[in-house]
Amino acid sequence: MHLPLSDMYNKPDERNLLDHMHQGVIGKPLDRPEGPLKVSGSATYSAEWRIDGCVDGVLVLASIAQGKATAVHQDEVLARDGVLAVIVDPAMPRRSAQGMATKAPKQDVANVEYFGQPVALVVAERFEQARDAALALRVDYADAADPAPLDPHAAGVKVEPAPDSKPTEGGDLDQAMRDAAYTLDVEYETPGHASAAMEPHATIAQWQGDSLILHASYQMLAYNVKEIAGCLGLSTDKVRIIAPYVGGGFGSKLGITHEAVSAALAARELGRPVRVVMTRQHVFQTVMRRSETLQRVRLAADAAGRLIGLGHEALVSNLPGEQFAEPVTQATEFLYGGENRLLKVEVARICRLTAGSVRAPGEAVGMQVLEAAMDELAEKIGIDPVELRKRNLPAKVPVKGTPYSSRMLVEALEQGAQAFGWAARKNRPCQTREGDWWVGMGMASAARVNMMVPAKARVTLKADGTALVETDQTDIGTGTYAILGQIAGEMLGLPIDRVMVKLGDTALPPGAGSGGSFGAISTGSAVMHACEAIREKLARKLDCKAEDLAIQDGVARSPEGHGRPLTDLLAGEDLAETGSVKPGKTAKDFSQASYGAFFAEVAVHAFTGEVRVRRMTGAFGFGRVLNAKTARSQCLGGMVWGIGSALTEELVFDTRDGHLVTHDLAEYHVPVHADVPAIEVILLEERDAAASPLQAKGVGELGICGAAGAIANAVYNACGVRVRSFPLTLDKIIADLPDPFASAA
């Protein structure tokens, strides 16, 4: 069998190449190779590069929501000690770029569109001088004459269909709702969320002639190059971004943001490198928010609990002119049956911080609501929630009829339930009391679309028998360093300590970037293709076919059985190949998703309504497991996000002036150690050849997609209070709690 002629992934590659290699590193729970650097503080993040002559800039944010910055009183601060420049430049973006934007976001910061929008940058010799001057900088504003609403629920707010998407309609949902044996028609709301990566956005910009070099913290470098080149009017070959370590992204670093562009402008004006590190408050106020959602779910089921109708409608919000709308119904499209359906997303146009991608856009908030609604339906019908899911898995995608590439949802439901001890669940609320705590269990399905995006990677098998993988693909905590090394090590038959991985530099071949759970499978597939090409060449040297070539521990063997060390075969010459992958027909021919199931046990305080998660189990099927340790960690991390989404996280905007009230980590509550109990993760192996040449699917976001629903369902099972507004803070629970001095009802 020969290599694919085209890099477009048009047909599922059923060769399962990685299962036929001999090194035994793929899939193993190997330590991250960059681990020793990270645990010793030796990994260099973007603000930490020592660059001679570098000075510091601090952004200045608008204190009105809409209007114009009419005057910036630069001279007042330029007179201060150490202050070098005040940058007010129409090239500065007023919005962050969306993920994969590839062009400049809206610029011209003199036009203010949301409270907190950056309007200027102050640069000084030292950080304290810049920060002090930035706070002192006087800016005059003229309020907009006819301001647009600040609040998605304001009277007269303009609501439009989500751009780039059409509602999915099938049959007659209204009729199904009239006819069905069991119906549910409920509204849920989820608040805005922040990515809140631990590393604030930071860029060091330096010019070498007319070329720009950025040390920055971004997820999708090849796209980010285009975005900043667009902002500055540069050709893309004049921009290089270096980001070997990114301290978390979670969507907020998909597109170029304000600090990079303003640092570049300042560095050009001053003729010296400029570093701009966003304060945590700046990150919250200027980068990106996940939109709040208002969701209506309608479920119509027959007497046996099979869905005949499914409605999922959502209202989200964004600035005028933004194409991005939180794709709330993304998983609802394919997850459950019900041919009579209406799935639609609408966008309210308001003047508030740009809404964009935060980890698992769409499913993060759509799944948690859908799964809560399914739980309500299960109770109405009187069947076990797990059983309800199992009865509603269609053979093909409703309305569209697309086949599924693979789906391990049933296995996840069954194995997860078993491991968790789901059988012990009481099917009525308020049945279990332990001291002052009501205890309950809940579950939810997990689903997240899978996609592959174009990616390239270069692999060099060096004459000394080591291999080097090179790509601008980032590792944002996702385990890229480990996984790409394991793919190359497996394909080339090398022990893992002989494989080096170099990432995060746009001088290297453009990978997929980290986002949408597609990084590992896309760039990993490119690595695999490069290795295939190298194996072809090695096979020719041994006069055999590539599929008959066995390499292990650096020794190549043909069917004749002669083992030749690679160093011999290479005879002093490196073998370098660039692999490439692009999505193709498999993306359209199949519905591709990663699946799983969550099980949660919570305790609700009988007096105060405080909710604590006592344990969770997640079982997940996402194709081939590339590294069991990092995959497990991704799932753990996602489930922690689920805890936050269920119980504590909420962006609060003051609708009088539009400012973000919860703009730091003291007010925006991400889970802390004490919020996170023992979490069990079960990884289910499968091969999905349609999803990628690796037979792998994405796992980076799957652990969020529905987790909060499981927790909400457990809260209801514990104390009988069904809260349809996330987060489930205690004020929403105590009003309806049973008498605290009663034991089980």
Partner: protein, 173 residues
Amino acid sequence: MATTLLTAQVNGTPQALPQDPRRTLLDWLRDDLGLTGTKKGCDHGQCGACTVLVEGRRINACLSLAALHEGDAIETIEGIGTPDALAPLQRAFVAHDGFQCGYCTPGQICSAKALMAELAEGWPSAASVDVSARPMPTPDELRERMSGNLCRCGAYSNIIAALEEVIAAENPA
């Protein structure tokens, strides 16, 4: 009047404190001394990424002024171990995958080191049922004691597993 050079010990080496009293301990370590292992996550004592040890006690370097540390012995992550000579805590973090993006990790490790000293000294915590009793390193105790260190990647349970392993190794039953 002669200006005396005020110093603090950083990982055993005396270092001159900065002239500008506004400089925080964190920015002094990162920018003036080039010890970038200690991280700035929020600059307002809300995340713990800047945790360092001062006289063996963990503090948020971002909320302390460098000039207030004259004569102090300060230990940062760089002093705890290097890639070629990792301390047991660091090795346990790698083995248990107690990190993902790695940005909160130095703070977690410095915190964990100090936590072990606090436990050894018998300090109680909010998780202790009886504050006058000697605390035990139960998972609930460890989680509460580490709660001043945020991890957005959600590596929490692996961090606790790493910490449990090291505590058990240092306190064989």
